[in-house]
Structures are given as C-alpha cells and as structure tokens.
Amino acid sequence: MMEIVKRKYVIPGDVIITGPYRLEQNVYQDGDRIISTSIGISEIYENAVRVIPLSGMYIPKTNDLIIGKVIGHSSLSWEFDINSCFIGFLPAQDVFGRDYSPTKDELKARLDKGDLVAARVANFDRSRDPLLTIQDRDLGKIESGELIKIAPSKIPRLIGKRGSMIQTIEMATKAIVTIGQNGLIIVSCEDPVGLLKAIEAVKMVDAQAHTPNLTERVKSMLGVELGENNDTINE
C-alpha cells in the first residue's frame, strides 16, 4: 500500500478514494469516502490523502516565513498586512528586548508605516490573530529588492520538489529570492539582467503553476540567458 497513486485533478465534492486513509489538507470524510474541499491536485501517499489547492487565500501556520507590510502600530505592538484575512501582530518586546518601555522607546524609529519585514509566524490559533517574530537569522526589515506578489497557493510550486525550482532560478540568475509563504516575494540581485530574468521566472511560475514540466520550461527560459550572462561576466 505504499505506492504513490497517480495524481488527479479534483474539484470540491469529488470523491478521491474510499477506504481507511489519513486525512491531510483540504479533504474531509463522508462515511468511508474521502472528498476534496478545494479545486486542486489530489495526492495519495503513505496512506495519507491531501489536495494541493490551486486557489485560495493565505492561512497562517506556525513557523511560516512571511513578508508583511507595516500598516500601523499601537504603543505595544505593530500591525502587519500579511496578505491574509488576519492581521499579523509583532509585539514591541520582540524588537526592543524585554526592558521595552512605551514611555522611553519610539516604535516608529525602528519600523514605520509601509516598511516591509521578513518575519516568522510565532503562534497562531483560532482564537487570536497571528503573532509574528523577527528574532531569527535573516529576519527583520527588508532594505532593498524587488517585491513581487503571486497567488499564495502557487508558493509550493515556486519552491518545487526539495527546492528544485527556486534553486534553478537562483543559480541561473545569481539572484537572492526570499519567498514569503503568504505570496510575497523579494528578489534582489546585483546584476540588473539577472534581476529581470528572476522576476520573469517567478511570474512565469505564477502564470503556469498548474501545467506539467514547468521546471524544464523555466530552465530552458533561463538556460539560454545563462550563457549570455556568463559572457557579460567574462567581458
């Protein structure tokens, strides 16, 4: 029973399989039938069933790396637009340390309205809005780079199997791509040609995420340009 069953296109209400399987994302059980709740691609592996959705909004998960925009602050925390139906909260203590005092420290000095921040979801449950943290390597205010917004449901495709897609793009263009799970992406590259190529590749994944052999097409799109890039570097 460990073999991987062929992947299938499903819409809500489609019966994926009947029998005892573990339920994962976007499926529910009705009797012994396992039914999809989203439009997407169903996968059956190691007795588990899930559907990778092709549409939908970002739902925060603990430990997700996200990119948020500051939309305001109170005296104790910042509020972030995280491209979701919930608002992200970053407590002031997370930035100023435990001895933060609202009378002494000015929140605006560190993060102002409109700033982009790479953060991690520290905690999220049904009862409260997501709590963010920037206490980690590579997190914090984003100073430079190009912002791209794609559908959050297409992020897994942009990363690819074990990061294959994103590695392809980064290697070919020498760009650094920061992927927020909420669909916001920062691309930075010293070479302007590489930057444009990387942006084009990301947009290509967004537009064609549901088509097969995408990695190869992205590779061929970048591969041709890779040779030219090397030439310019050699010159």
Binding site: K6, R7, K8, Y9, I11, P12, G13, D14, V15, N26, Y28, D30, I35, T37, S38, I39, I41, P53, L54, S55, G56, M57, I59, C85, F86, R126, S127, S153, H210, T211, P212
Partner: protein
C-alpha cells in the same frame, strides 16, 4: 393566453419537457474579486463575485468560532423590460436570504473565525429561474475564490405547465404555468439545500417534479464542472 405546449409536447420555446435551456458558465471573469463567475442560463445573464475570507464590518456581526457568509442578490435596473428600481425589493431580500441558506451547508468556514465571505450576485438580464442560475454562478465563484466546500451546489427548477411536469421553467411558463419548484442540490452528497414550491401539486406530481428538478441539477453540475476544469486544468490530466 399563449399556448405553452403544443400537441407534440413541444414547449413555447421549442424545448422538450425534459430539456434544460442552454447553459454556459465562465469562471474568473472579474479581476478585482477573489472569485467570480458569469452564467448564461437561457436568457438569464448573471454575474457573481466572491470576496473573502476578509474582516467583518460591522464588527458586531463577526462570529468568534467560525466565518460567516453574506449574500446579496441584486437585479440591475435594465435586467427587465420595465425599469426596475435599483433599491433592494422585498423579493430580492428574500432571494438573497434563500441563496445564502442554500450555500451555507456547502461552505466550510470553521477555519476562518472572525471573518466573512461576501457573495455578490448581479442579474444583468432576467428570464425565469434566475435564483437557480444565480446559485449556480455563486457556487462556482466560491470554488474559484478557494473557499473550502463540501460539494458544489447545483440548482435547477421544475414545474407544472399545461398539466405536465416539465424541467427548467422559463419566464412565460413561470407566469402562466401551474407550479414552479426551484431546487438546489449537492450532487456528490445527494442532499437538497433549497426547495421552494409555488403552485399546487398532487403528492405524485410533487414526487415526479422533485425528481425531474434533481435530474436538471445533475445536468447543470456537469456544466459547472466543465467550466472549472476549463479555467484550472486546461492542459490535460496531471
């Protein structure tokens, strides 16, 4: 009175008694909405847009345990021959309510506490059976928006015209006929989410009418499915 059915059992618009009107659905027609659909159901032309899940305004409507569903059915002033006042009429308020209640069993909003899913339905051109056509468009738009759903809701009406049970009554048949029964149905679960009846039917006729309507819903379901496949899986099987 116009003749609704000739001696060969052909209806005033040339259909057989068990035939639905031409239905075509397009998914994702509005850029600014999270999900959208456009349906042509005979002469009905209806646009549906879905927003959300998003913040609830006014805030007191929010549910701490689950998301809520709101629905607005509206007919454009130019959708009927005589100008319709654009203010929501008694009929539109009622249809908004029944459409909301017909979609409610299908959507799963437990994972979106304190949020709302808004469904806006705009009738651009009205023919008979616009509530069913509106429901068909709304449920496809909800799928397009990525709202988790137990099943797609398909709706179709049946009725009694010239003493016969017919599928999918049009405007003339609705006005002149003896009964009209809109039904919304979840085809994979086999459950009815909307059933109204305007007119008088005997118990046997009622049974037959319901069966006919469900048969129509199943036909509509195939069209909804095809429309979704068209947008999302244009390039063959995975």
């Amino acid at each position: 009175m116009t003749q609704l059915m000739n001696e060969n059992g052909i209806r005033c618009d040339g259909r057989r008694i068990d035939q639905i009107r031409n239905v075509s659905i397009k998914v994702g027609v509005l850029k600014n909405a999270d999900g959208s659909a456009y349906i042509e159901f005979g002469k009905n032309k209806i646009l549906a847009g879905v927003f959300g899940p998003r913040d609830v305004h006014p805030k007191h409507m929010a549910d701490q345990d689950s998301g809520i569903l709101r629905c607005r059915y509206h007919m454009s002033p130019f959708s009927v021959t005589e100008r319709k006042n654009p203010a929501p009429s008694r009929r539109e308020i009622e249809i908004s309510k029944v459409i909301k209640e017909a979609l409610q069993p299908a959507v799963i909003l437990k994972d979106f506490p304190r949020t709302v899913v808004d469904v806006f339905i705009e009738v651009l051109q009205a023919d008979g059976g616009s509530r069913c056509a509106a429901l068909d468009a709304a449920s496809v738009a909800l799928v397009d928006a990525g709202i988790p759903m137990r099943d797609i809701v398909s709706a179709c009406a049946a009725g009694k015209v010239a003493d016969k049970i017919v599928l999918d009554v049009n405007d003339e048949e609705d006005k002149e006929g003896q009964a009209d029964m809109p039904v919304a149905y979840m085809p994979n679960l086999g459950k009815i989410t909307l059933m109204q009846l305007d007119g008088i039917l005997t118990p046997d006729e009622y049974k037959k009418c319901l069966e006919t309507a469900i048969g129509g819903c199943k036909q509509v379901y195939e069209i909804q499915k095809k429309a979704l496949m068209e947008k999302y899986f244009k390039n063959g099987e995975a």
